[in-house]
């Protein structure tokens, strides 16, 4: 029972982290039709920036500065890269972000080297939060959940209750009309792209020290968030939320269970499970969990 409780808490906190990543990806995708392949690279940049900033002035400023920096980079990428490629179509945009992911990974190699950097959980967040029978639950996991939930509520409020949020929502479905009403839609795109990148950066700040900060972290988490977007249904935020929690729990439980099936233990099979889920879903429900678009 306690095992189940702790693992589901872990699963949910990991799932929320995944949702911070996939929500930005989904928003950008549904707004601009661009699947940002470099999204996980922004996550990695967030972690590295946080490492650098927290080494100099501490973790709390890093929590704010690193996502802002990543967001600024995202905006620059949109303004001077994506916008130029836009006229060549969606495949070109996808290829551009693919190349960007390559470049960012190499840049990280270049600046911080190939080994993992020592980005640690700050001392004040290190330790047990509470105890369930025999197992302790770390504060940092709770902090991760808190930040993700706070962030998600903030985004939801911003999207539904503010003027710019309403413009963004309108631009999702009727970009021409919004433009005709005198709003600068390209600037809205830039803002959303930067916002998505900043979200990924924030996920990097709180995920980088909980897991590991190395140049491989983008390649490790990237495919998972793409699977989430497909499983949840392309462009559906609610779908992405469900799929994030599902895959977060799936992976957490799979790693810690020691059942075995035909000589292969579940924990060995853990890396394959999200992809297997995707394949099964595509066979039985091709539009994804909450998707509306077929084909």
């Amino acid at each position: 029972m306690e095992f189940f409780l702790v693992q589901s808490l872990n699963g949910v906190s990991y799932g929320l982290l995944l949702f911070m990543l996939s929500s930005g990806l989904t928003l950008v995708f549904s707004l601009m039709g661009v699947l940002n392949f470099a999204h996980a690279s922004f996550y990695m940049l967030g972690a590295y920036f946080a490492y650098q900033v927290s080494a100099k002035i501490g973790f709390w400023p890093a929590l704010v500065i690193a996502p802002l920096l990543v967001g600024a980079i995202g905006m620059l990428v949109e303004r001077f890269g994506l916008r130029k490629v836009h006229r060549h179509g969606h495949v070109a945009e996808l290829l551009f972000t693919f190349g960007l992911a390559y470049l960012l990974e190499e840049a990280v190699h270049l600046i911080w080297g190939r080994a993992a950097v020592e980005y640690r959980v700050p001392a004040e967040l290190d330790g047990p939060l509470f105890q369930i029978m025999d197992s302790q639950y770390p504060i940092y996991r709770g902090f991760m959940m808190l930040v993700s939930v706070a962030m998600l509520v903030a985004i939801w409020l911003a999207l539904t209750r503010t003027r710019i949020g309403l413009v963004i929502q309108a631009a999702l479905t009727h970009p021409q009309t919004v433009e005709a009403l005198g709003h600068n839609v390209p600037r809205v795109f830039m803002l959303v792209f930067g916002g998505g990148a900043a979200l990924a950066g924030l996920a990097g700040v709180i995920g980088g020290n909980a897991f590991v900060t190395d140049p491989g972290m983008a390649a490790a988490v990237g495919p998972i968030i793409f699977v989430i977007v497909v499983v949840g249904g392309m462009g559906s935020l609610a779908g992405a939320f469900i799929a994030s929690l599902l895959i977060g729990c799936l992976q957490t439980f799979a790693v810690s269970l020691d059942w075995s099936l035909g000589g292969i233990s579940i924990s060995q099979a853990a890396p394959v499970l999200p992809y297997l889920l995707m394949v099964l879903l595509l066979i039985f429900r091709p539009k994804g969990l909450m998707g509306t678009r077929e084909g």
């Binding site: 070109a92 551009f96 960007l100 390559y102 190699h109 080297g113 793409f226 091709p286």
Partner: protein, 420 residues
Amino acid sequence: MKYAPLNLGRWILWSASALLFVAAPHLFKGGFALTMMTQMGTLIIFALSYNMLLGQGGMLSFGHAVYSGLGAYVTVHVLNQVGSGSFYFPVPLLPLVGGVAGLAFGVLFGYVTTRRAGTTFALISLGIGEMVFAGVLMFPGFFGGEAGISTNRVVGKPFFGLTFGPALQVYYLVAAWCFLSMAAMFALTQTPLGRMANAVRDNPERAEFVGYNTQHVRFLQLVLSSFFAGVSGALSCINFEIVSAENVSAIRSGGVLLATFIGGVPFFFGPILGAIVFVFFVVALSGFTKAWLLYLGLFFVLMVVYAPGGMASLILMQLRVLRAGRWRELAVPYALAALAALVALAGLIGLVEMVYRLSEQGASSVLTALGLSFDARSAPPWFAFAVALAVGLGALRLTSRRVGERWGAIQADLQAKAAA
């Protein structure tokens, strides 16, 4: 019988490329050139098979290495069985084994991936690629884990006196298969399926109205393409005598995408060009600098932004102007732009190499280039390279504007002449 004129240009081109395959080892002597050419041949098949998806079928795949890699795994097991004497199979026909294996996996995975097109297809292919990679590490019995499975290509009786021990024999084996695959893949573009694949790429809705099942067309195209991917996988297995998880990895899938795109997706011969340049980048440049991936990525991104038709389109554009005899007008602006680009490139390379040197632990911070040596810990070289980069970029902006003006004028002239 329909009247079909003899397409002389095509015959000349294909004969010339066949001759080039035969003559290449005599033109470029030495073991290093031979390894490079063998790798180029393998990658040409792989890139062409990739372009059957991206160029001809409009399917952007991030997991094409799955088919070549799994084809290579099956080949390595067959080769090892032949080696242990279980049965006999001639080595030069092994690529067929790889091809059939690739095709079988194409049928299996293609059923899932080709259900969707566009961006979703890209994501699913990525997911399948990751799944296979994780799966390969999960079953070390068959796949040999991280270390992979090694083999020996010199097995059984010599095949008409060929043992495939010497690298030259392997080169000719690869060359023969490469030529055959090139011809076969070109022929495929001329078939009704090839044409329908183009139609599905350009306008799936209309293709469906004409009465074709787009999913079926994509599926067939993917299955055929995975056959050729398997052939190239088998050849790489014979060449390197080892197959490991790296063969199915995202790195390979990304590599073939880069090679194909750099060469030129809209043209049949684009990927051939791309494969040659890519191998050159990987093999030659990686010997010089550890930042070669960065340069390759930068080159790729620049191509995506400024030349989405790849190098092939750039060359064809020049041919048109050349044929009209107007190239001389462009020579000076081109030379100026090239000079500006060189200055910018020198600045960029200098900065990148200095950053790299500083991040490397225990390496000396003194670099030498063109007989000059400088210390990456001192300010002047940073300043000099940054200035070179900035000046180069600024000049490039100006000069390329001039190239664009000239180019536009010539194009307008040519069009007016064509209309008259």
